[in-house]
Assembly symmetry: C2
């Protein structure tokens, strides 16, 4: 290009460049750059002169140019299944709060858990030269992630899945959460326990059940566990509870694989004229917004998404800055049981 009106964009708007600043301050661009970065001492008088011009012009160096030159965009991409899924906004906020202070902006991308979309977004992130990648609940294999690593992009995985070398991972411990709920219910004195599970083969639900069962078995004989499978919906929870109540030995406490099913169980209990928690204790999982609003307020387990994001961003930052360059790390985020009004000791 020989010349097409340099600093004028389509609508006539103008941006100052470092050369413009240099010209007005009667120094070289080199010097302006150095007062900006502080990478080299600059005579105080010069510095002030330059500083003044910078302010007058409201000059801000172009991140695009800096990024190109320095090979770093100060940008990271966060891939989530869907920002609309209530877990992810909090997670995003946790990550962003950690990132923004370090000067990073973040692209939030919705994969809808579809491998092709994931791949596409990943490629887009690489093309944009993001410095880091936060991969939440991804559907494609570890091979996909490798292309990011080959491009030199620091990566951390949030959730389950096997991570390639140098990819840190932060996740929750569903098995332990299930065990904790089991122990909690047992400590209240319940002896006939039930679990309302997802259709089967659903990872987190299975893990929660596994832990729950282990906790009950550990308690020795005299403790029963009944299991009902159902759809992951409100109606699913309701029909599952109905089925459990038709059992010879009715449970006194039910742990549901998620809050939505637990709310369905609450519906069914009401329909069967059972009082919650008087006749039946119910525990959910997730701590969705509605859990606190319904009557009785639902006891559940909270899996802090904010912390997931925050911790993941911390690991990522260390990788980006080179503070840490060792082998893959793993962090598990502690869940917590939220005791509300839907649980209490069984009638004796």
């Amino acid at each position: 290009m020989r010349s097409t009106s340099p600093r004028t964009s389509s609508n006539g708007a103008t941006r100052a460049t470092i050369h413009e600043v240099a010209r007005r301050a009667e120094v070289s661009a080199t010097t302006v750059s150095h007062v900006l970065s502080g990478n080299r001492p600059v005579a105080e008088a010069t510095r002030q002169r330059v500083q003044r011009v910078i302010e007058e012009l409201g000059f801000r160096p172009s991140r695009l140019a800096t990024g190109l030159r320095l090979r770093q965009s100060h940008t990271i991409a966060l891939l989530v299944p869907d920002i609309t899924n209530p877990f992810y906004p909090e997670l995003a906020r946790g990550a962003q709060d950690a990132l923004i202070d370090a000067g990073y902006q973040t692209f939030i991308c919705n994969t809808d858990s579809r491998p092709e979309q994931e791949r596409e977004l990943l490629q887009s992130a690489i093309a944009r030269q993001v410095d880091g990648l936060l991969f939440a609940a991804f559907a494609s294999g570890p091979a996909e992630m490798r292309s990011a690593l080959e491009a030199g992009i620091a990566t951390v995985l949030i959730g389950d899945g096997t991570a390639p070398a140098r990819v840190d991972r932060v996740h929750s411990d569903d098995r332990r959460a299930g065990a904790d709920v089991g122990r909690y219910l047992l400590s209240l004195g319940h002896r006939r326990l039930a679990f309302i599970a997802a259709p089967g083969g659903v990872r987190p639900s299975d893990a929660r059940l596994e832990g729950y069962r282990a906790a009950i078995n550990d308690r020795g004989p005299g403790h029963e566990l009944t299991i009902a499978h159902a759809e992951f919906t409100r109606e699913g929870g309701a029909t599952a509870l109905t089925r459990l109540l038709d059992t010879g030995t009715r449970p006194t406490a039910v742990f549901c694989a998620n809050d939505v099913m637990a709310i369905g169980a609450l519906d069914a209990a009401r329909q069967h004229d059972l009082r919650v928690p008087g006749d039946l204790s119910i525990v959910g999982f997730d701590d969705i917004e509605a859990a606190a609003f319904i009557t009785p307020a639902l006891s559940t387990v909270h899996n802090p998404p904010y912390e997931h994001g925050q911790v993941a961003a911390g690991l990522l930052l260390q990788r980006i800055t080179g503070t840490y360059a060792g082998r893959a790390r793993e962090r598990t985020i502690a869940h917590q049981i939220i005791e509300r009004a839907s649980t209490k000791p069984p009638r004796t």
Copy 2:
């Protein structure tokens, strides 16, 4: 810089450049660029050869370089108060779904409604040369926005506030929504109506009340409206309803400025042994997740955030591409009344 191992980043990762592709395909970078862009015809044989090398290397042009050269980053910034506030994830998704197809990635930035933070993020967006700005519910004045416009960045405002020239705006019509609720309740046959309002001076609450009142007045005499002010919380809603019930003439229908207050009103009704909707109809505003889960399910008004985002992104895209360059436009997004179980005609 004279030479510091050109294409090798800190961890040894390598990225192909357009020159690398050119070398291997034995053509100039110019030609590679043209097969990429299609801006100039390229001999079919050449094209195929280049294409093959591109695929072999998995080459993707650097968006940073392209952006610098073309003066456009194909990036937009969405400023929201807090992505954790349930209105915004949907809004973001609506915007992103529209933007992603056009090749735009979006930075989502949390302002916490603090002017300084807003200013800071705005400057950051300018420095990153975003092509467009989606400003949701902003706290700083129109003067702030001007700096974006001066930098040549297309801007659209989501929510209330006065927009400078060339800034489009999309918003909802709270006044009309209030009127619609009023007409709805009147059409059910209610004649003693009430409104539970925010502390006072809260824009949307005031506008809703205004419309509600107008609808009732339009109906002529024989219709009463009582108003109670309260905190914007569940407890606020409960105490406000209690106060209304102590009135000589008890209302048969209550419209609450938001769902959370409506849920509080539901609590209070239960405490006073009033049946909802048998003795009292209640309608909320916002359609939060819990509205559908509580018992009885809450009638409310839904203000589709997804559409806000989608429409705003559409306007923005037209500004960016130059499809539209005229004066500021305004779009109002239609709300809708969601009729659930908390409303019905009054006892006669």
